[in-house]
């Protein structure tokens, strides 16, 4: 079998990719949509969310490596919960100041501060004593918020608070963003939990779930931005999911003790 090359990324690198990728992606979506007067570029919002997913999945991986076996989904849900609050807060504040375009920046700053405070509470008040809790929750909350915001922007095609409330919150699609977004963040580490967990396999799993989320949200956006732009999101989402799924399968094959078509237990265990 050909040797598959992996990758290793530092948390700081991933944080930079996550922040730059998601913020630039959100502005690109809104800018291109506004310039062309269509909603065709809404799919870029979902691609922006993938950068945030990469950043967030790694932060969950770092926190939960401290032995939080059953706490992995809880950590993801906590981050998504903070994200849903932070996204509305940031957009609303920006809207009230009449400066909607600054929404993502305000949201990002607020979410990271929010995450840091919750992390401090966990460590100092609840005595979790996990060394990177503050940093990890700051990353997790920031990443998840950017992902939720990017998906919301891709569903509504704009950054306007009222439009996002009408297309994402009132239709109930927030429920889907909440649970699919949470899954994209915590499923990678949860599904790859074990002593031989590898960063590249975990993150590619996150991208795979991100692609699946893009596919699902593409179906949602049929009723919010129209059939043609939504089909673009669905097709690109499916292509990304397929690409990362094949990559993930190859990484699992690389790391497994053996991959067999069928057979009994390993000779050592019979």
């Amino acid at each position: 079998m050909d040797q598959l090359k992996g990758f290793k990324l530092e948390p700081k690198q991933l944080r930079m990719y996550g922040i730059i990728g998601s913020v630039v992606g959100i502005y690109l979506t809104v800018g291109l949509n506004a310039m062309t007067g269509t909603k065709v570029f809404s799919f870029i919002g979902c691609i922006a969310a993938l950068f945030a997913v990469l950043w967030g999945a790694n932060s969950i991986r770092r926190i939960c490596s401290y032995g939080l076996g059953t706490g992995v989904p809880a950590m993801g849900m906590l981050c998504t919960g903070m994200a849903c609050v932070a996204a509305v807060f940031g957009l609303n504040i920006a809207g009230r100041f009449g400066f909607e375009i600054a929404g993502p920046i305000i949201t990002l700053v607020y979410a990271m501060v929010f995450g840091y405070v919750v992390g401090t509470l966990c460590n100092k008040v609840m005595k979790f004593n996990i060394p990177i809790m503050e940093e990890g929750l700051m990353d997790g909350s920031g990443a998840c918020t950017m992902a939720v915001l990017a998906w919301s922007v891709s569903l509504s095609g704009s950054l306007s608070y009222n439009e996002i409330i009408a297309t994402v919150y009132n239709t109930g699609f927030l429920a889907v963003i909440f649970i699919l977004g949470g899954m994209a963040l915590f499923h990678p580490f949860n599904a790859n939990l074990g002593p031989d967990e590898k960063q590249d396999r975990t993150l590619i799993d996150g991208m795979m779930v991100g692609g699946l989320a893009m596919f699902g949200l593409g179906i949602c956006s049929i009723v919010t931005i129209g059939f043609a732009p939504a089909m673009l999101t669905i097709v690109v989402g499916f292509a990304l999911w397929y690409y990362f799924f094949v990559w993930y399968f190859r990484l699992a094959k690389r790391d497994a003790a053996a991959v067999v078509g069928t057979g009994l237990l390993p000779p050592s265990a019979l």
């Binding site: 989904p73 499923h187 790859n192 949602c220 993930y248 497994a256 057979g263």
Partner: protein, 301 residues
């Protein structure tokens, strides 16, 4: 109380019964939730196995995902294209089953690959024949839950104010929580540790020592479905179905606005009656089967 309201109430109860049963069997085939820790530990204590390891969060979040996805598809078809309600539910459940297949396969591959040092192999035939049966059960669960959500929002008057994806999410969490607390014990306690004595509990020493061999050959996850479909699944269905039916029943029989006191009193009566019945069951089981032969008195913790 009218006949239509009571019919809808009974239909919701029946759908909830089926959803609960299939939810539990789906989690048992994949060894999800609580029993998953033992399947995960087995390889680590030197017992590699041929049992599916579907680690997709706990049951509540994962079922919330399937039901929310099914409801989103149904919502799009109903609101965007005015499709028939039943067709929308079928399409939604099919999408949810596909999502479940992807997540299950990724969890099996990931968890097995992360135990390479314990010689846990990845068996592709397990993926091929177990994943479809997990997906089939998820289809049934999400179909029933989507139908309940559709009944609440589009059939019952007054219509429920929430959109169906939110209701699907909430029902998904509920069915997952009930499946996790009712049915998992049958699989985790009885099936994974068949040879322990009654009343022994699960000793720490036994962690990971799950039954890996079947009557003939090696045990697989389909065998577990066969076992759990006899008791654990129906019990979960009964738990969830009764929760939905009794709760709807008391507000159907008594008008929630004019006869609210009766409805609340009836709810309190149900809680009291069930607690008393539980107490009776526990006492009679202890009398009939206990105590465990190795019992040497309570040990101070």
């Amino acid at each position: 109380m009218d006949a239509f309201g009571m019919g809808i109430c009974a239909a919701a109860g029946a759908l909830a019964f089926v959803a609960g049963a299939s939810e539990d069997i789906d989690s048992d085939i994949g060894s999800q939730s609580n029993p998953n820790s033992q399947v995960q530990l087995a390889a680590q204590v030197g017992n590699p196995h041929r049992i599916y390891n579907k680690a997709i969060a706990g049951e509540p979040p994962s079922n919330a995902l399937w039901c929310a996805v099914a409801c989103l598809m149904a919502y799009v078809l109903i609101e965007g294209y005015h499709m028939p309600l039943l067709f929308a539910a079928v399409a939604g459940a099919s999408l949810a089953a596909l999502f479940d297949g992807v997540m299950s396969i990724s969890a099996y591959l990931g968890r097995s690959a992360s135990q390479a040092r314990f010689n846990q192999w990845i068996y592709l035939d397990i993926i091929r024949y177990t994943t479809p049966s997990i997906m089939a059960h998820v289809w049934i669960t999400s179909f029933c839950i989507t139908l309940i959500a559709i009944i609440q929002v589009y059939v019952l008057t007054p219509h429920h104010p929430f959109p169906i994806p939110v209701i699907g999410l909430i029902w998904g969490i509920t069915v997952g929580a009930i499946g996790s607390s009712v049915g998992d014990i049958h699989y985790g306690g009885e099936r994974e540790f068949q040879w322990r004595l009654f009343g022994q509990g699960l000793n720490t020493m036994l962690s990971g020592q799950i039954v890996r061999k079947a009557e003939a050959g090696l045990r697989n996850s389909i065998d577990n479905a066969w076992f759990c479909a006899k008791f654990g699944g129906p019990c979960t269905g009964l738990g969830f179905g009764l929760t939905v039916f009794l709760d709807n029943w008391r507000t159907t029989v008594f008008d929630p606005v004019t006869q609210a006191t009766y409805a609340i009193a009836m709810g309190c009566f149900f809680v009291l009656a069930m607690n008393l019945y539980n107490l009776y069951m526990e006492i009679s089981a202890r009398k009939k089967y206990g105590p465990y032969p190795g019992y040497k008195g309570d040990i101070a913790a």
